[in-house]
Symmetry: C2
DNA sequence: TAATAATATGAGCAGGTACTCACATTTCGA
DNA sequence: TCGAAATGTGAGTACCTGCTCATATTATTA
């Protein structure tokens, strides 16, 4: 456990401006290589080269290669979670479940389209790397947030296997759009994708 | 294109019994290592060692490491497709859609539970490796099979965005159970998982 | 300005990787 | 029974990997 933390946490916090630039360049180069050449082609040497940074600098801020992925993942998960939390908070008063579902899924889809460079990396890592507990934590957090939000919907929502239901809902929204990215007929930007996802989730949840 | 085929196709067909054993040992060892140590720890040398086979023999039947994965994938995809095709064929006469959905999903879940050793490998490869066209071909095949099967269900099935709907259905059944494998609260064997998957798919498809 | 701290550098290392090839062994039909 | 074809062997190679460390450069502080 301690080993894991040591290996995933940043080695050193960047204080000066140029140090923050270095870190951002590393992250940017990593995303770029992932997007262009895929996971198999990535190496710390290549990342450093692409970032215009020496391999030594890279290892000043990231103790291992995985730490780079972990950093990017954590950052993305955090922004997604904050977004959903905020939307739920805003919808606290409303009792229109379908509209809430639509608003949340639309927002997520929009960010997925924008940040589609990260999405393929996610497809390869999201389900695979047990070390990324932050993702499981996010799932659990979202489940409890939704569970609380759904309390007033006693008559509208099916609550027999709510744990599985909510897990499936979350995974559907996370994973189905990524699956779309990997076939080449339907575009992620096609508004019907969002529509269908809303349809799937709402129909599945309601009584 | 030609390069890809050359690199993924078996180099030599095993004719004698012992040759077939060699191939099976290689495949078995690969599955075993994947299951135990994960994708990152796998190497052809390790596979050969675990299989009790020389590295030279391995390369007589598989021209590259990827060819081993490809072979296993193709074999699995083929068995799954045949199973679904057969079930659909048997259900040709019936007009009970939900029961059909239940039968197919139950069968798939059963095989996923049995072959769960392959499932994690799939989670890492299914969406990620563009080279595995066989998977996309399978998706397209299944879509057309379902589309045909659904023709008589004019009144029961929602057909506005049928392309997306069927794609989401297929991906849900493929991916959601795998997602279950990667969290540790709900077990894949829990019959509620199958139930919920049926519920999700049927509710999503019906009018 | 001088000293100290922060940051950047990249040659190089130890170990792993996919894969080859010249040769040994086994199988089997003639 | 014998020889060709099929199968098996594993030391070896060229390359790549993650990562270190001694040193140089730049920024901050006193």
């Amino acid at each position: 456990m301690k080993t894991l933390k040591k290996r995933l946490n940043p080695r050193k916090e960047p204080n000066q401006e140029r140090a923050r630039d270095t870190v951002e360049n590393i992250v940017g180069a990593t995303a770029h290589i992932l997007e262009k050449d895929g996971f198999e082609k990535i190496s710390t040497n290549r990342i450093a080269e692409k970032a215009g940074v020496s391999i030594g600098s890279l290892y000043q801020y990231f103790p291992t290669k995985e730490a780079i992925f972990s950093f990017m993942m954590e950052r993305y998960v955090k922004s997604q979670t904050e977004m959903v939390d905020k939307l739920i908070q805003e919808r606290r008063q409303s009792l229109d479940l379908k509209e809430t579902v639509r608003i949340i899924i639309s927002a997520i889809m929009e960010s997925k389209i924008k940040q589609s460079r990260f999405q393929k990396m996610f497809a390869e890592k999201v389900l695979s790397f047990a070390g990324y507990e932050s993702l499981h934590k996010q799932d659990e957090h979202l489940i409890s947030v939704f569970e609380k939000y759904l309390e007033p919907f006693g008559d509208e929502v099916r609550k027999e296997n709510l744990d599985i239901t909510l897990y499936f809902v979350i995974q559907s929204v996370k994973v189905l759009p990524i699956a779309i990215l990997y076939q080449n007929k339907i575009k992620l930007q096609d508004p019907r994708v969002t529509e269908e996802l809303v349809e799937l989730v709402y129909r599945y949840m309601k009584k």
